[in-house]
Every structure is written in C-alpha cells, then in structure tokens.
C-alpha cells in the first residue's frame, strides 16, 4: 500500500510510574490505513491500543516513531488543518458531549471556530450532518441528555464529521450500547467509509465487531502487534496463540457449553515485561526459544501481508523443531 492515508511507524510511548519505573504502553508499533478502508485494532485492556490511537490523533506525543498523513510527517505540534484531518470518537458519548449545548449550538460553534462554512450556510450544513449520521433535523434542537445512547453516539460522530476529517478513529464506539443498537452504528461506520472515503481505525475488544467491519486487522498484546493482516485472511487462519485464545474466548450465539481458552493467568505488568516473547508465560505452546528470543514479525508465507510475531506462527512449521516446555 504505497498511498496510505495514515501511517504510523515504530511508535513508542512510555509513561513514568511509581518507583522510578517506566511503563512501555506502546513498544514499536507500525500500521497504515488507506482512504476508504477500516483498520480494526483488537486487544485487551492495557495492550496499548488506545494509547497508539491517541498518538495518531495527536492527543499524545510518542517518545519516538512517526505518524504520517498522506505521506507528510506530523510533528509534535500539528497545524489546525492537520488536527482537523484526524478526528477521534470515544466509548461514552455522554461524557464527551457538553450537556448544556444543544446539538445545533455545538455544531455551529465548531463550524465557526474552524471557519468552515459561512454563517448563512451553517443551518444547511448542520442539517446535512444530521442526515449523514441518520438523525432527523429536529435533533438539532435537543440536548445530549434527551437522546438515547445510540443517538448520542451518532451526535458524537456528526461532531467529528463537521470538521471534514480524512481519518476517523473510534475507540470502543459500541461497547456501551445495547446489542440491538450496535448493529446500526456499525452499519453507519461502513456507510461513512463508503460515502466519504474516510480512512477509519476502529478500536475494540470485541472480535466480532472488528471482523464484521474491518478490511485490515491488527491484534495487540502488551504494547506490540502480535498478528496483523487482511480480515478474511487473518480470521481464516489465525496464527498467534494469543489471537487464537481471544478468538476461542469470544462468546458465540450458537455455541453451547463453556469455551475454556488455553490461556494461563492474566497479562503480566507492562512495567516488568517477560524476557523473550512477551506472551510466553501465558502461552500454551511456549518452547525454550520463546523464553529467550523476542520473535520478530514475519509473514506467514513468503510475500504474504499476513504478519505474525511468533516463532511458530509462520508456514511451514516443522513438527520436529518444536520442543514443548515442560514444568
């Protein structure tokens, strides 16, 4: 993909924590997303997916690594235009909307501050934005508290779209919504991608959401990308034991009986990372090499865009080379 709309290269973000330690929340993460494409970023709490996204949105400055928009590197201080180009929406639309502004005032303020639309055309633009997110024009008169969760998320999306972004980053956009409403919001994202040609990053812990919506998927674990690839290819043949465990643990509508993924314990502290492969203490397939050597990302087949960071993830796996870890 030569013409990525948004590309992150080798992002590293660390935070100081108590006791003089450093927490590496994002530890060398790269990905790119093209116009009209959706990248799904999956992983559990603390894996760094939100931190990586905040770097791309310019809400956080990485320790090292670059973010490029249409090939141009974004500096620590972004121009107003660059800030407008990448918009982010959050899990809880209630706390990210000003409770005392009507939807109309909120949108008009944005349009005026960014000098996007002359005053007489503002009402028309506000109505157009409501149309884009599937709300009636009458919603412009409402306050956030008067809407349901799904409608509030639509309002948050309308606000992001008001500044005509090129990239939309959504952090757990449907996690706080009822199942019955999630479907409509997911469809809205797909529509916006197709109609506006937006590049989108959807962050979710829900594999079903990501599989439904994304063109590309990246699975993160403890600040690194464990596995990435085209959605169909990756889900068709999940290679990383962590991604396999995530998939096994996902609740399914027509599965009876408990899924007990083969996964030990909980993620270790990112302050004190395990040696070698950072997944090895929990990995059911860990071998000696995993304790010492940090696996480099490798394609599952030569020339494949399906990348896995596991010593045993790539084709072919010679059975004799695997010495199971005992004890």
């Amino acid at each position: 993909m030569a013409d990525a709309r948004l590309a992150a290269d080798d992002l590293v973000v660390s935070f100081p924590v108590a006791g003089g330690h450093t927490l590496r929340a994002v530890d060398g993460v790269s990905f790119q997303v093209g116009a009209g494409q959706i990248l799904g970023l999956v992983g559990e709490s603390g894996c760094g997916k939100t931190t990586a996204a905040r770097c791309m949105a310019g809400l956080l400055t990485p320790d090292s690594g670059t973010v490029r928009l249409d090939g141009a590197q974004l500096g620590a201080r972004r121009t107003a235009q660059q800030r407008r180009a990448i918009q982010m929406i959050f899990q809880d639309p209630y706390s990210s909307l000003n409770p005392r502004l009507t939807v109309r005032r909120m949108l008009r303020e944005l349009l005026a501050v960014h000098k996007l639309v002359p005053r007489p055309a503002m009402e028309e633009r506000c109505r157009e934005l409501m149309g884009l997110v599937g709300l009636p024009a009458a919603a412009l008169d409402g306050l956030p508290a008067q809407f349901s969760g799904g409608q509030r998320q639509r309002i948050a999306i309308a606000r992001a779209l008001a500044v005509e972004p090129l990239v939309l980053i959504a952090d757990e956009p449907v996690s706080s919504l009822d199942v019955s409403v999630q479907a409509t919001i997911l469809r809205l994202f797909a529509e916006l991608r197709d109609r506006l040609g937006l590049a989108m990053i959807i962050i979710s812990h829900n594999l079903a959401v990501v599989r439904q919506l994304s063109d590309q998927v990246a699975v993160m674990y403890l600040g690194r990308i464990a596995e990435e690839g085209g959605t169909d290819e990756l889900f068709g043949s999940v290679r990383h034991p962590y991604a396999q465990a995530l998939l096994a643990a996902a609740p399914r509508l027509h599965q009876r009986g408990l899924a007990r993924p083969d996964l030990r314990g909980e993620p270790p502290s990112p302050v004190d990372l395990p040696s070698g492969c950072r997944f090895h203490p929990r990995c059911p397939q860990a071998a000696d090499i995993c304790q010492h050597d940090d696996p480099l990302p490798r394609p599952v087949r030569p020339d494949s865009t399906h990348i896995v960071s596991c010593h045993f993830g790539a084709d072919p796996v010679p059975e004799s080379a695997v010495t199971p870890l005992t004890g």
Binding site: S148, V179, S180, H205, Q255, L263
Partner: protein, 337 residues
C-alpha cells in the same frame, strides 16, 4: 420437591417525577438445584430490577407491589412486607458488574471476605481469617495469603471480580445472583470467570441467575433463558432451543441484531424503533409497534406467556409464524471461513 428459587408474579413499581410505572410486571421464574438461568434484555427491560427485587436491594424509588420469592420452599419475601432482609441474606448472594465500586476501597480484600463469617457467622477473628483464605483459594486467587492484605485498587479487574465472588460465597448462599458480572472484563478474563462460576455450580450445587445483555454468554453457561422486554418475560425455555429457534419475534430480533465472530456473512439487523417509554406503554403486546409479525389483534389486549412446547413459553399470538422460518429466526451453524 421445591425448586431452589421460585419467584411468582413479581411486580415492582418505580416512582419517577411523581408518576409510577411497572419496571417489573408479573415476572415468574423457577430455578432447580444447581440450575442456571440467564435473564437477557436491553437496557430498561427490567432484568436488573428483577434481580435486585429478588435480593431485596431495590433503590428507594422502587418497591415490590406484588409477588413472592421462595428459596428452597421457604418464603423470603412477599409483596406485603419489606423487611425480610435477614432471612434472605443467607440464602441469596449477589455479584455486581463493577467490582471496583462494589468493594470498599479502604479495607483490605481479605478483611472484606472475612467480614460476613465474623459478623454473621460468629466466627473468631482467626477462624474468619482462615475461612476467608479458603474462599480466596476457592475462587482461584493465586497466593491468597499475600493477596489477603491487598486493597481493591491493587488488583486487576479479573481478580477483583473473583474477590467479589468470594464475598458472595462467604455466607454459604444457595443461589448466586449475578448482575452483568463479566461485562466490564476482557474476553479471556471473562472466560475464566465464567469457568469459575461453572465450577462452583458443579462442585457446590450453587444455583446461578445470570443477568446479561450478551446472548453468547448465556448460551455458554446457562441451561435456561428468560428474555425480558418492557418489564415482562416474553420468552423462556431451554437455552439451546430458544437461541437456535426463537419463538418470540423480540428474541429473534435480538439475535438478528447481534454480531457473531463466526458468522460474518450475515449482516446484523437493527431492531426498528425504540424501547417504549414505560410511562406510555403501547396497548396489548409491548413489542407490537416494532414487530415484523404484528397483526391488529396484537394491540387488542394483553398478551400473556403461554406454553408452546416442552419447557418453553412465549408471549406472542403469532409465534407459529416464526416456526415457519422468517429472516433472523433460522439457526446458523458456526462456519470458519
């Protein structure tokens, strides 16, 4: 033989802005020994309110208007009296969604687990500590002696939820009432907690009532399911048959709206319209304005639960139309692409 937990015609009224509405309207549930029942529905369906009414933990604005709750044949609550908390407390225990706000932040987790054995069980401090350590071990907390002195904020979400389950178990309850206990957890941790609940059921014959909005979770750990809408149960039965072949249009619509990681060919269908305002419920069946199968008779009068097959009931006049297989009702087998 009496069922472990039997709820009959439970009705809860809530006051809001000087008006009253029925948040729970004539709900009956039955749980056999060691059984597990999942209650599902959208926000505002009354599923959590049902659970809180059973536990006797209703907010001040809500009150039980009618109905009885029996545990192992013993009446622990009825509509007339409100102060049956003590009798209820020992037989029922509750696990909440948000362990961080349910636990006391300035008390060690060990002391919180030991509190009920000491105060209610009358154990000595030393015996209560031993009991708490045993409970922490039962719920799978590694190195309980070290964790005993931890404060809730020092633990991960999964460990906090295990502590809350240990507290719930500390009174030797017969039934564990779980209100979205895994919603805030990551999927792999969720699987571990569900595994723990399943193990407790098997080892101690504990009955479990599990409230969730996640149909997939219910399918994994429950034998029976009750689907709630607008304060009423609209469909109930064995979890496999209800989820694979729903006989209430609302159950079918909920299933059709859900995303499933194995089932990407199917585009999730949102349920048209909105959950009705409880102060202005539509006439007849409350789902009728959103229902694809609605006929004029659906709005004519109340539609009550009726038997529709072995162990199954549904509150729908036209459920046989679903048996013919409209969209969304067909069972979909898992298929790996």
């Amino acid at each position: 033989m009496n069922p472990l937990l039997e709820v009959r015609d439970l009705t809860v009224e809530v006051r809001r802005h000087h008006r009253r509405f029925r948040a729970v309207d004539g709900v009956s549930l039955s749980l056999p020994d060691g059984g597990s029942l999942g209650i599902v529905g959208e926000s505002g369906s009354g599923k959590s309110m049902t659970l809180r009414a059973i536990m006797g933990l209703l907010p001040r604005t809500a009150s039980v208007q009618a109905g009885t709750v029996q545990v192992a044949g013993e009446l622990v609550a009825d509509g007339e009296e409100r102060s049956s908390g003590d009798r209820r407390r020992h037989r029922l225990a509750m696990v909440f969604q948000d362990a961080l706000s349910a636990l006391n932040p300035v008390m060690t987790v060990g002391a919180q687990v030991a509190e009920a054995p000491r105060r209610v069980g009358g154990l000595s401090a030393r015996a209560a500590r031993e009991r708490a350590l045993g409970l922490l071990r039962t719920v799978g907390i590694p190195d309980p002696a070290r964790r005993y002195g931890s404060y809730p904020h020092e633990l991960s979400g999964g460990l906090r939820q295990r502590v809350m389950i240990a507290i719930a178990l500390s009174t030797d309850p017969a039934v564990l009432l779980c209100d979205e206990p895994t919603t805030a957890l990551d999927v792999t941790i969720q699987a571990q907690i569900l595994g723990l609940l399943q193990d407790l059921r098997a080892a101690q014959g504990l009955g479990i009532v599990f409230v969730t909005h996640d149909l997939g979770v219910v399918g994994q750990i429950c034998d029976e399911i009750a689907v709630m809408y607008a304060g009423r149960i609209v469909e109930t039965g064995p979890v496999g048959t209800v989820l694979d072949a729903p006989r209430h249009p609302y159950t079918a619509a909920l299933l059709a709206s859900a995303v499933d990681v194995d089932d990407v060919g199917r585009v999730p269908q949102a349920i048209p319209g909105e959950v009705p305002d409880p102060l202005r419920l539509p006439p007849g069946c409350p789902f009728q304005p959103r229902c694809p199968l609605a006929q004029p008779d659906c709005a004519a009068g109340p539609v009550s639960l009726r038997d529709i097959g072995p162990g199954r009931s549904a509150a729908c006049l036209h459920y046989d139309a679903l048996a013919a297989g409209p969209p969304g009702a067909a069972p979909v087998g898992p298929e790996h692409g």
